[in-house]
Structure formats: C-alpha cells, structure tokens
C-alpha cells in the first residue's frame, strides 16, 4: 500500500479533484477490454489524472523515490490486459490531456496530446481534406496515446499499415522522469537510434507518451464496397493472397466464415448469403474513375478462385449496410455464447488457408465453437472463441486451445499478435516467438531504461 505521505504528495501534485481514492472507483480500474477476469486483488491504490507532461514527470520521479509502480492508461479499451495494474500500483489515466494542438495542412502533419479520441482526431483532419488511416474497431472511444502505446491496427491496415507507420515524433516521460523528444517532424530522419519505433507498441513499459506528432495523407476522394461469396472457406482464404499478387491493393479485405454469416443474419436481417461457407468483404478507394476498374479486377480474381457470386454495393447506403454487418459480428455471436475471446494471431497472407485449417482442427479437438473472421488482407485473423465464463471446464478448454493456436500459427511463420499487443494475456507465451535470447534483449532494454521497474511491470515482457 502507498503510505499516507506518498498519497498526500500525489494529491498535492495534481489537486484532489484529479485523484480517485474510493474503493468503488478503484475497482473500475482493475479491468480493461481484455477477457482477463476482473480481480479485486488487482485494484490499484490510487488513480491519477495528470494534466501535463510536467505533472507526469513529477509523479514518475516520486514513484522512483518511493518505489511504487505506475500503470499508464488511455481509455482502457485494449484487449490484451496491457492496462490492468498490479496490486498497489498507481493507475495513471491520460484522458485529460486531450487537445489537438496543430494540424499543419501544408506539411501534412499533426501534433496532439495522448488523450485525444482516435475518431475525433480523424474527423478533425478529414474536415480539412486530410486522412489518418489507422482504424481500430475501438476508434470511437480509444485514445491516440493508447493507439501509439499498443501500435493499434484495424481493417484499413491491408492498404495503409498500422499506427507505427504514421508516428513521426513523440514527447515521452521516461521511466526515470526525464521528458524526452524522440524522432523528427521530417518525413525522414536517421539521427541516432529510432527511439520512436522503440516506444510505439511498447505498451506503457518504456515511457509515458505525452505528445504525438503524426504524418497524414490526403483523404481519398471516393470508395467502393463489394462482397464476394464463396461456397468453400478454403477457396475464400486462398483468394486473399491472389488479390494482392494480382496487383490490387484493397483498403480493407475482411473474411467472415459461416458461423459469423449466420449469426449476423440471425441478429439483423441484412440479406447475407446463409448458404455461403465464407464471404470476403472488400473496399477499394481512390479517384472516383478508378473505382469501377479496381472493383471489376478484384471481382474477376475472386471468380477465378471460386467465388460464385459478387455483389457490388450500388451506393454509399448499401455499402454502409455491409459494413454494419461486419461491425455487428461480435454483437451477433455474443447472442450464441456470452463470453467472446477474440484472438489476434497473424500469419503471412499465403498461409491463411493452412492457418484456418489448423484453427478448425483445434476447435474440434477441444469441442469449442471458434468462428473465423479477420482482417484477412494483412493476414490478421481473429479466431473468435465463443464460450461461457461461468463454465470452468469450457474455460479450461479455451486456455488449451489458445495455446495450441499460438503454437500452430507461429509454426506457419506467424506472430502471436498482429495488433492487440502482448499485455498480460500473451506474456507467458512471448518466448515462443522471440526465443530466450530475443526475450533477454528486450528485458535488458527495459532494465536499462527503467532500472526500478516502475512502468507497467509484469506487462508484455514474458513474466
């Protein structure tokens, strides 16, 4: 427990209105959006809401002096358990620092604070014809600081990459309290080690981000959506890589299997083909004149590889219907089983068919329902396990299945996590991917930057 003196020092730094102390409030920081069960023993000692980099720095210095851990947090919308504190830690919520500082239209960059909500930032830059592509499903409530700390992705990753590809520079409070500026505002910079890349995706273990500089693109003028219907999941999954080798780069390429197709149709009747084994939902963007050409070419590739039907959305409203269908995916399966465990293992595109076969075999072996949907365009499958947290036997089988999925997909040249992060959930498995020596290097970096293990201990580094 924090002693009274330390508590009072924290309250002095921030003012009592920016500190939470009541157990009823603290309990609500013992979870995030991950399926890790809520555990009152992980209740933090205190929750603090700093308003500036200087305040963050003062708190970190105090933590070094008094020896308490700090767990930085944005909206708590990550799904890896990366913001769940250890016992007695102080949770630091960055949501008060929520200003968009500048949008530089000529240089196509923006400066913002970590608490800005992703979608609000996107709307702000789109108003002036600019574009910030990363679009995690949580963008309506996730914070940009959280997105940077987790290196968030999203459906548009197929064409536009992930958060890492847009961050130019950061202001960071290091675990020892110094305020550091990494990177540069330029499109290229090789001055010293790439600390920006080291910090993006570091899950709050190496520093607390207090300011972000991102690069922006010009907003594509138009987009078009099509749906390819397959009588065979295997053929649908083989088509994914073929679209890219055929020279096409769709913005978004989503695969949904029949578990999801039927669940969505049960939930809201949109007219998805119930007889299909799989569908690919594809969006292309660019100059208006190019869209038909792109859509025709993709449709042709899909047909060549076994699609029996292609449906092109006539207008924006019809396209929106299809994306509503996609976004309803989790809602619809939650009506089958209450607990949804969305996995995030990612494989090279060409390995998707084999990855799906392995997932299906694992599901059968452990008598589980595992639906497959995912950002297939970048190999980011989200095998989704439908379970009931109140059934201990089923939850044990879920654990076994998850580990088998990790091993199987790593064997295909994949990675444990495409965009969700390691957090608490995958930490025990990290060495499967990095190897012992690789993990040791990561730990040495952590040790060098955070000698007292202040920031997010027990997160993301194989503990």
């Amino acid at each position: 427990m924090l002693n009274t003196e330390t508590r009072q020092a924290l309250i002095r730094i921030l003012g009592p209105e920016h500190v939470l102390e009541t157990p009823e409030d603290l309990l609500c920081y013992a979870y995030d959006a991950s399926p890790i069960p809520m555990d009152p023993s992980r209740m933090p000692s205190l929750v603090v809401f700093p308003g500036s980099a200087e305040e963050v720095s003062q708190i970190v210095l105090l933590a070094n002096e008094k020896g308490f851990a700090i767990c930085p947090r944005g909206a708590g919308s990550n799904v890896s358990g990366g913001s769940i504190p250890d016992r007695d830690a102080v949770v630091m919520v960055l949501s008060r620092m929520n200003r968009i500082l500048t949008i530089d239209q000529l240089n196509m960059t923006a400066d913002l604070e970590p608490g800005v909500i992703t979608e609000q930032f996107q709307n702000a830059v789109e108003k002036v014809g600019l574009f910030y592509p990363p679009d995690p499903s949580s963008k309506g409530f996730s914070t940009m600081g959280g997105n940077v700390a987790e290196c968030a992705g999203g459906p548009r990753g197929a064409k536009y990459g992930v958060t890492r590809d847009y961050v130019l520079a950061l202001e960071v409070v290091m675990p020892t309290g110094e305020i550091v500026h990494t990177g540069a505002r330029t499109m290229k910079s090789v001055a010293g080690l790439d600390l920006t890349r080291l910090l993006v995706g570091s899950e709050g273990t190496l520093g607390i981000i207090t300011r972000i500089t991102v690069r922006l693109l010009a907003l594509p003028p138009a987009k078009k959506t099509l749906m390819a219907i397959f009588p065979d999941l295997e053929k649908a999954s083989e088509t994914v890589a073929r679209i890219f080798t055929g020279g096409m780069v769709p913005t978004t390429l989503e695969l949904l299997d029949k578990t999801f197709i039927n669940a969505i149709e049960d939930y809201r009747q949109i007219g998805l083909p119930r007889d299909a084994e799989a569908i690919l939902l594809i969006e292309v963007d660019g100059e208006a004149e190019s869209l038909d050409r792109q859509a025709d070419r993709i449709a042709e590739i899909c047909r060549q590889h076994g699609a029996t039907r292609i449906q092109v959305a006539k207008d924006a409203a019809e396209a929106e219907e299809l994306w509503i269908a996609r976004r309803s995916a989790f809602a619809s399966v939650s009506r089958i089983k209450p607990s949804i465990i969305g996995e995030d293992a990612t494989v090279p595109r060409a390995a998707i068919p084999q990855a799906i076969r392995e997932v299906q075999a694992i599901a059968a072996r452990h008598r589980l329902t595992i639906g497959v949907l995912g950002h297939a365009g970048d190999g980011n499958l989200h095998p989704t396990i439908l379970a009931d947290e109140r059934d201990p036997d089923e939850m044990r089988r879920v654990e076994l299945a998850v580990e088998e999925i990790f091993r199987a997909l790593l064997a295909l040249g994949g990675t444990l996590s495409g965009e969700h992060g390691i957090g608490r959930m995958k930490s025990p498995f990290l060495n499967l991917e990095t190897g012992k020596a690789g993990l040791e290097v990561m730990r040495r970096i952590k040790q060098a930057l955070d000698p007292k293990n202040i920031l997010n201990p027990a997160i993301g580094l194989g503990d």
Partner: protein, 435 residues
C-alpha cells in the same frame, strides 16, 4: 431481490468500452465508474461480494440518466440502463430510501388524492418560494431545487380538471384515450390542450380517463419497485376500461413505460400480464399516431426556423424519430434544421437533475450549444421533461429561443391561431376553445 439474478446479463458485458463513446455522464466525468461498463463491473463486484451495499455504490449507480444510449450502441446488446435500474432497486431494498424520496414517492406520489390535493394547493403557495421572471421562475429557497435553475410553475388548474371524460369529434375517424402524464397535467396543460384540439380537428375522438395517475417511472428510476408497480397496476386497470384504437402519450418517458416497462414489471403476474400486453399493443406517441393515420386538410404556412430534439425515451424507448420529422417537414415554409446528434440526452432524466444539478447543467450546455448552432428560433420536442430542461439551458445562455411540444407546433398550423404557442393557453382565456 438477489444481486445474483443479474449475473446472466452482467457476463454479456465484454467491457469493450463502447459505452464510453455515447455516455453523457462519462463525457463530463471521465472516470470509469461513470460509464456503463464501470457500473456493470460494480454490479459484478456486488454479485461477488467485493463491494458492500455502500452509500458510495448507491452514489455510483445514481449517476445514470437512463438515456439508453449505451444500450443502443452496445456491440453485445447489453441493456445497461436496465441493469443500473435493477441495481438501484436492490440497493433501495437493502439500504432503504432517503427520507425525502420516501416522502415524495411512497406518501405523495403513491396516494393519488394526496398528490392531486398537493398539486392543487401548490399554485397557491408557490409564489412564496418562486420568483417570477419573464422566462419562468427561479426558486427563492433551495428546497431541493438549485436556485440558479429556471423552473416552470405549477398550473393554476391542471389539464384534466374541467375536461369531460369523453370529447367526441365530428365525423370521427378514430377514438383514442389520452394518457396525460404528470408534467402535462400539472405543469404544461397547454401541451395537453393543444394535443386534444389537434386530435379533434383531425377527426379523432378523445377520452380522458379521470382516474389516471402517474405511470410509475419516477419511482422505478429511484429504485422503488413497490411504488412503481402499484402505480403501474392502477394505470393498467384504469385504461383497460376504455375501448379505444390507441392510447396516446405526450411524453416519451410515460410512453415507453406504458409500452415496455409494464411488460417487464408484470412479466410474472398472471392477472396483470395480459393487461400489460394489451396496453402495450395500443400505446402510441402523439406524433406516431398522427403520422400513421395521416393529416387531413391543409396546414397553414409558418415562416420560422426550427430544430427537433429527440427525447431519449421517445427515440430509443419507443423508437419514434421519423414521425415527428415527417410532420414538421409537412409544414409549408417552415425551415427545419437538424442539430448535431439530436438524440443525445439533454441531461434532465427526471429527478436526476434535482440531485445532480451541476452535472446536468454541463450536459445541458452541450445541447444548448448544438441548438444555437442551428440558428433555430424554436426547438420542437416530444417530452415535457426535456422542455423544462432545454428551457433552463437556453435561459442560462440568455437566449430567446423557445421550446415547445410538437403538439403545440401542429396546433399552430392546424387550428391557425397565431398565438405564441407556449404561454397563450395560460394567459389568454380566449384561446380555451375546447368544445
């Protein structure tokens, strides 16, 4: 009632955080416990025994407008508002009601005659405690009301007083019963009168059951399930006596209570369940009923710019958003300008705004800002609770923008009486033109 009963709904919350995007309280407070997933996690904690039935828990559960925005936005279809109300009931059972609420709900509201007598005596005494200003009144004493708050006065004579039980329309094409609701009956009778005049003009006979009372929602929202069911039972028994095409409501909250809540409250009551089902099938909002039967006759043109505010319980409770807009757009010359997020809660939420006036004002200020951005001179809405709140918000910003019920707007273009729609019926005896 056991906390454990809520478990099957609680486990469906995946804690994704999507509720944060739409929760008006979270937007102002920014703390986890303010958003729905925090409240659901606290309910989970109560089920597990990790938190006692504490005052702090009651306070967290009180911070919900029951605006249903989280439920409408929840990817897993969790009805957060219903869970919070269920939690309030359990806390009231265990901790009791505070004295003031006990008096207000169990003594005053529950006893129809005491309530009516009180509401009749109220207007005589209110000048002692309210200070009149052109826009309305301000409290002289705190008496549970914030002194900065613009409040309406109780009507000198309630709507139902002096109205016959049945007013037949000439060449009637329909027959409805009117559920007046407490606010229309006692605070804004002019809304009720406008609605009745419009219905009669449109060839709809109107029955006004004299025995009707409160729908019970204020008790339900404060966790007093007993009083709520008592009032619900009385409403069901009263309205089942009238053979009508529809039961019309003028308030989204009353309407969604009659249509949806009673089905829940009386789900396991063999005697009342069939009554709740037959009432639910008949309840329609005023705008919904008129839009469905279609307006008869030409509407007078109106040279004005208006915007429309969706009441939470009308939009997300009763699903009525299209109909009022159709009716507004049908008025010649009228410019209809939508505001940003018209269905975001204004922050009134019944007695919530009494207990949390500062918070309610912050929420309301955002709504006021959205209204001002439309350049409208009048706000139209379908709920007297929202009217009271929106008027306060606009008053705090020193604007002259008026807020009226859709029935008042329609009265203006159908009855073609160019009176200012809000206060005319109160101040000008000439306009009391009911047959």
């Amino acid at each position: 009632m056991d906390w454990k009963d809520l478990e099957s709904d609680v486990v469906r919350c995946s804690r994704c955080g999507a509720c944060q995007q739409v929760c008006p309280i979270f937007r102002e407070m920014g703390t986890e416990a303010a958003a729905t997933r925090g409240k659901i996690s606290l309910i989970r904690s109560a089920i597990q025994g990790w938190v006692p039935d504490s005052a702090a828990l009651s306070e967290r559960m009180s911070l919900c407008l029951a605006c249903k925005a989280c439920a409408a936005n929840c990817p897993s279809g969790v009805k957060g508002d219903q869970l919070v109300l269920a939690a309030r009931q359990r806390l009231v059972e265990r901790r009791g009601l505070p004295l003031i609420k006990r008096l207000a709900l169990r003594f005053f509201l529950r006893n129809r005659w005491i309530f009516r007598t009180g509401m009749k005596l109220g207007p005589l005494g209110q000048r002692l405690v309210l200070r009149r200003i052109p826009q309305g009144s301000l409290p002289r004493l705190p008496m549970g009301l914030d002194r900065r708050r613009l409040v309406p006065e109780l009507a000198a004579s309630p709507l139902r007083e002096g109205l016959p039980e049945c007013i037949e329309a000439a060449e009637a094409r329909g027959r409805v019963a009117l559920f007046t609701g407490c606010m229309v009956n006692h605070i804004y009778p002019e809304i009720g009168k406008a609605a009745i005049e419009v219905l009669l003009n449109q060839g709809i006979s109107v029955l006004i059951p004299p025995d009707q009372h409160c729908c019970g929602l204020p008790a339900h929202a404060n966790g007093d399930g007993d009083t709520a069911r008592e009032l619900g039972r009385a409403t069901l028994e009263t309205f089942q006596r009238y053979p009508v095409d529809a039961v019309i409501t003028l308030c989204g909250s009353c309407g969604s209570t009659l249509r949806h809540e009673y089905l829940e409250w009386f789900a396991s009551d063999p005697a009342l369940r069939p009554l709740a089902q037959s009432l639910a099938a008949k309840v329609q909002d005023f705008a919904q009923y008129l839009a469905n039967i279609g307006l008869r006759g030409a509407l007078a043109p109106l040279d004005a710019r208006v915007t429309y505010h969706d009441s939470c319980h009308l939009a997300r409770g009763m699903g009525v958003t299209r109909e009022p807009r159709e009716l507004i757009r049908a008025i010649p010359d009228l410019v209809f300008q939508e505001m940003e997020t018209p269905a975001r809660c204004c922050g009134a939420a019944g007695s919530f705004s009494l207990a949390h006036y500062d918070l309610t004002r912050k929420i309301n200020a955002r709504k006021t800002e959205d209204i001002l951005a439309t350049g409208a001179s009048t706000v139209i809405t379908g709920c007297p609770g929202c009217i009271m709140q929106l008027k306060d918000g606009l008053y705090q910003q020193n604007t002259k923008i008026d807020v009226i019920h859709l029935a008042q707007l329609l009265r203006q273009v159908i009855i073609r009486n160019p009176i200012p729609p809000t206060l005319a019926l109160n101040s000008d005896p000439e306009t009391r033109v009911l047959p």
